[in-house]
C-alpha cells in the first residue's frame, strides 16, 4: 500500500464520513427548528408579549410609516365570509413559501397573524419564527374579538349579538348573512369615528441586521 498518500486518504475518508453522516442526520424541519428556537420564543408567548390588542392592529393599519403584513391563516370559507382589508390568506403548510418575502421586508415592517380565535394564529406564528424570524405578532382574541369591537351592525348577522369568547374553538362565531370578504365595514374600521379603546402597545420595530453580503 502506498503510504505516501495516507494523510490524503485519511482526509478524504473523514470528509466522506462527515458528509454521509450529515445526509443521514438530515436538516431540521420546521418543527425541529421551532424546538431550537423555543427557549427564546416560548416565553414571549407565555407572557403574552406578542399578542396585540385589536385597537393596536387598527392603529397599525392606519400608520403610513409601518409596512404592515397581515397573514390570515384560516380556511377559505371563513376568509370569504369576512377578512381584513389588505390581509393575505395563507394556509399553515404554505407559510414556509413566504420565506423570501419575509427575509426581504424593510425595517419598518410588522407582521400580524390572525385567525378566528388565537390558536391557529399562534401555531402559525411559531412556524413563521422557524421560517424567517420576522417581527411578528398575533391578534389577541382573534377575529371574533375584533368583530365584537368593531362590530357588524345587527342587520349583517340578523341580530346575533356578540360572539362568546369564553370557549374558543377556532370557529368564526359571527354568522354573517352575506359573505362579503373584506367589503364589510369592520374589515377596515374608521379609526377616527370610533370610541377610543385603551390598549397596551406591544409592537416594536426591530433594527435589521445589515444584509449586504458577498462581494456586492
Amino acid at each position: 500500500m502506498n503510504t505516501r498518500h495516507l494523510p490524503e486518504a485519511l482526509g478524504a475518508t473523514v470528509l466522506l464520513l462527515a458528509s454521509a453522516t450529515l445526509a443521514f442526520h438530515g436538516q431540521p424541519d420546521l418543527e425541529q427548528k421551532w424546538e431550537f428556537l423555543a427557549p427564546k420564543f416560548e416565553p414571549l408567548l407565555a407572557e403574552r408579549e406578542v399578542y396585540i390588542d385589536p385597537a393596536e392592529l387598527l392603529h397599525l393599519m392606519n400608520d403610513d410609516y409601518i409596512h404592515l403584513v397581515i397573514y390570515d391563516v384560516r380556511s377559505e370559507s371563513d376568509w370569504n365570509e369576512f377578512h381584513l382589508v389588505d390581509s393575505t390568506l395563507v394556509a399553515l403548510e404554505n407559510l414556509k413559501l413566504e420565506r423570501d418575502r419575509l427575509l426581504s421586508l424593510p425595517e419598518t415592517a410588522v407582521v400580524v397573524v390572525v385567525s378566528n380565535d388565537e390558536m391557529l394564529a399562534t401555531g402559525a406564528w411559531k412556524r413563521l419564527m422557524a421560517v424567517a424570524k420576522p417581527n411578528a405578532y398575533i391578534l389577541e382574541g382573534g377575529l371574533n374579538l375584533w368583530l365584537n369591537i368593531y362590530g357588524v351592525p345587527d342587520e349583517e348577522t340578523g341580530g346575533h349579538g356578540k360572539a362568546s369568547l369564553g370557549k374558543p374553538d377556532g370557529t368564526l362565531r359571527h354568522p354573517f348573512k352575506l359573505a362579503l370578504g373584506d367589503r364589510h365595514a369592520a374589515a377596515q374600521p374608521d379609526e377616527h369615528h370610533l370610541q377610543h379603546r385603551e390598549y397596551t402597545p406591544k409592537v416594536k420595530l426591530l433594527k435589521k441586521i445589515a444584509k449586504a453580503g458577498g462581494c456586492d
Binding site: 470528509l15 458528509s19 445526509a23 442526520h25 431540521p28 423570501d100 441586521i209 444584509k211
Partner: protein, 196 residues
Amino acid sequence: MAPFDLVSLLGVTGSYFIYLAIGFAFGFILESSGFGDSRQLAAQFYFRELRVVKVMFTAIVVAMILIFWSTALGLLDYDQIWVSPTYLWPGIAGGLIMGIGFIIGGYCPGTSLVSAATLKLDGIFFLLGNITGMVIFGETAGLINTFWNSGYFGTFTLPELLHLETGIVVVLVTCLALGMFAGFEWIRGLIYGRAK
C-alpha cells in the same frame, strides 16, 4: 443561535474589527499557500500545479460540512445566512471573462491583494487593472442593465435545483471534489509523466 447581529453586540467599530481579523486570517492563509504567486496560480491551467483546485474545493467542502452540521444541530440559523442570489447569465458571462483574465493576468482580486501586499509588481499592476476594469464597468453598467439583471432566480440552491435533500447534495459535492482531485492528479501524471 448564530449568526449574530454584530453591530448590536459590538458596535460598528467593533464589527469592523472582526472583519479586519477575518481578512487578516484570509490573507495569511492565501499567502502561506502560495497564492500570492501568479506562476503558482497560472500553473493550474496547465496541470503543472494543482493548488487552486485543491485549496478552493477543499475549502468549499470543509466549510459546507461545518455549516450544515451546525444548522442540523440547531447551532446556526440557515435562514439568516447570506446566500448570494443567482443571476445566471451575467454570472456565467462574468465567470468566462474572469477565467480569461485569470490566465492572462495570473491572479484573481483576492490573491492580487496578497501579492501586492508582498510588493510583487505584477500583483500591483494587476490590482491597478482590477480597479480600472471596475471603473469601466461602473461607467458602462447602464448599457448592459437588462443583461446584467437577466437569469434571476433569487436565492437558488443546488438542493432546490436537483430536488435532493441538502445532506445528499453535500455528499455529492464532496465526491465531486475528491473525484476532481484524483482526476486532475491523473491528468498531470499523463502530461508530465510520473517524475515530480
